[in-house]
């Protein structure tokens, strides 16, 4: 079984649109949306939820005002300034370290498990899909990413499917690290802009740090041909597989508005051909 993770560094380069196109082209796969704090893939795949699970992770401190003697030790120990002068815990500031709970001499602090999201197993017209929703302003997105990837793997084994296609989050921090560890390869969707190149270089470095093979393609390549050539050269110099160029086409947006992949929107477009070629190159390499 192989897992491919689609990432980009910079947001808005077309990761999810491309992921949906790959979902249309690939055979025998599980889809996995690991961009859990702003998940969008479901807007194209229209999943029918079969299983719904709560995601409980980490704890948050709660002060019981009846037992609290206002000694102030918790405020002294808390490094997040999460406890107010009135001895109330701000759940957004609380890191869930439990230091106040452990040391409170009056045992006035509870430390309940925190419900921080939910995750789903669904059916889509492209096959089964595992996806999630982190509640707003919650932490532990890395753990939820790890969980959906594990569930996708379990599902692929159960259904005897050979491929997992994972939509990754933007950036290079905790959720991205969680989305790529142990994957067979990452597909980096870049764009020919100064920020696209800057962010692509950082995410290439991250993949190499975690020893995950990286492949690169350029979306909207015709916006700046010099920069597109620069990306291709960068990829080749680094010994990465270069997958090809995809032109800027408003059809991606129009397809998204209709909740369709580019192929369902227009089966014979130029941009569709470019995406097919990129996918063919991915398949040849894995």
């Amino acid at each position: 079984m192989k897992e491919l993770v689609i990432i980009s560094g910079k947001g808005g380069t077309g990761k999810t649109s491309l992921m949906a196109s790959f979902a249309f082209l690939a055979e025998g796969k599980v889809l996995c949306d690991a961009d859990v704090d702003a998940a969008d893939l479901h807007l194209i795949t229209s999943p029918r939820v079969i299983e719904h699970h709560e995601f409980e992770s980490g704890h948050k401190a709660v002060i019981n005002s009846e037992k609290c003697t206002e000694c102030g030790l918790c405020r002294e120990l808390c490094r997040w300034n999460a406890i107010s002068e009135e001895f109330r815990v701000d759940p957004i500031e609380c890191e869930g370290c439990g230091v106040c709970y452990y040391f409170c001499p009056a045992e006035a602090i509870d430390f309940p498990l925190n419900n921080s999201g939910e995750w789903f197993i669904s059916e889509t017209r492209f096959g089964p899909m595992v996806h999630a929703r982190l509640h707003i302003a919650e932490e532990n997105s890395g753990k939820l990413v790890t969980l959906v990837r594990q569930e996708a793997k379990r599902l692929a084994e159960k259904e005897n499917l050979d491929l997992i296609l994972t939509d990754g989050p933007p950036g290079v921090g905790c959720p991205v690290i969680a989305s790529m560890g142990g994957a067979n390869a990452v597909v980096i969707v870049s764009e020919p802009t100064v920020s696209g190149i800057h962010d692509m270089e950082r995410v290439v470095e991250l993949a190499s740090f975690f020893k995950v093979p990286a492949m690169v393609c350029v979306n909207k390549f015709d916006l700046n041909l010099d920069s597109s050539r620069e990306i291709e050269k960068f990829a080749k110099d680094k010994g990465l597989d270069f997958l090809g160029n995809i032109p800027f086409d408003n059809a991606f947006t129009e397809a998204m508005v209709q909740g369709k992949t580019i192929f369902e929107y227009d089966g014979r477009s130029e941009v569709g051909e470019a995406v097919r070629q990129v996918w063919k190159n991915v398949i040849d390499r894995i």
């Binding site: 947001g11 707003i136 302003a137 947006t253 998204m256």
Partner: protein
């Protein structure tokens, strides 16, 4: 005043709005790029950097001569960053959240703290505009403490403009909380709308007034505007899709450099935020 520029969805034009707003106002303004995972504002502002600082977070170091292997440190740690196994105590610095619990609980005083590098902060200027950004070390998972550090450069005498990261989880909250106003940059597409609703939901929790900039406003559909109307969210600026803007952006040029007529519009955007904040 602190104005934070956020979006939910990535790539909607946060950095474009933050940098053009900052460059249009110039004097007496500071721009803090808090998207420390992928800091891009500096590519457009091109400040002259004067200062670089390495930022660390405290992680435990155990003096094995003093340690009695009692295991209390592993008991208190919620993040599996320190554990006693057999006759050794192991630390996993990359998992440590720097709460100091292990050090506080150790009865032998065997634990002290040293720094784990989070990344760097660079400070610079372009004319009257002060510029600060953080760059997360590649391989480092935790961005919020670095974002906090960038925000510590906030100068209350100045107008502070913050370029926030995408999403709605902890790093974004760190870049929005305490702001007087949050400008949400969105695009009129289903992805843009979906993530806008999440970001607006976070701002309801944080109780921060917010308004919209709709980028590529002539593409997509009308649903973002319908949503704004229904929720009473002010639309403070619309930027139509213009290949000239996209191409200038690709080269690292600002809208106000390529099309100076936009400068007045960004000044007006600031005026309308000032009116709302009061």
């Amino acid at each position: 005043m602190i104005i934070s520029i956020a979006s939910g969805k990535g790539g909607t034009g946060k950095t474009t709005v933050a940098t053009n707003l900052a460059l249009s106002l110039g004097e007496g303004v500071q721009l803090l790029d808090c998207d420390v995972e992928e800091p891009n504002a500096g590519l457009f502002v091109q400040p002259a950097f004067e200062k670089t600082e390495t930022i660390t977070t405290p992680v435990p170091e155990v003096d094995e001569k003093k340690c009695t292997l009692c295991g209390k440190c592993g008991e208190i740690c919620q993040f599996k960053a320190i554990v006693v196994i057999g006759k050794t105590v192991l630390t996993f610095h990359e998992l440590c959240h720097s709460c100091g619990g292990c050090m506080a609980v150790c009865p032998e005083g065997a634990i002290s703290e040293k720094g784990r590098e989070l990344g760097i902060i660079e400070v610079g200027h372009r004319n009257g505009l002060e510029f600060v950004h953080g760059k997360l070390r590649v391989g480092e998972a935790m961005s919020p403490p670095l974002i906090k550090k960038v925000r510590s450069f906030t100068d209350p005498r100045k107008l502070t403009i913050i370029d926030a990261p995408p999403g709605t989880s902890c790093p974004v909250i760190e870049a929005m909380k305490g702001a007087d106003f949050v400008l949400l940059v969105t695009e009129p597409t289903p992805f843009g709308l979906h993530d806008l609703k999440l970001a607006a939901g976070a701002l309801e929790i944080l109780e921060i007034p917010h308004g919209l900039v709709i980028n590529k406003s002539d593409l997509g559909d009308e649903k973002v505007k319908d949503y704004a109307r229904a929720e009473g969210l002010p639309i403070l600026m619309e930027i139509p899709f213009d290949r000239r803007i996209a191409e200038a952006y690709s080269r690292g040029e600002s809208i106000v450099e390529v099309m100076p007529e936009w400068k007045g519009r960004f000044v007006k955007l600031y005026e309308s935020i000032k009116d709302i904040v009061g």
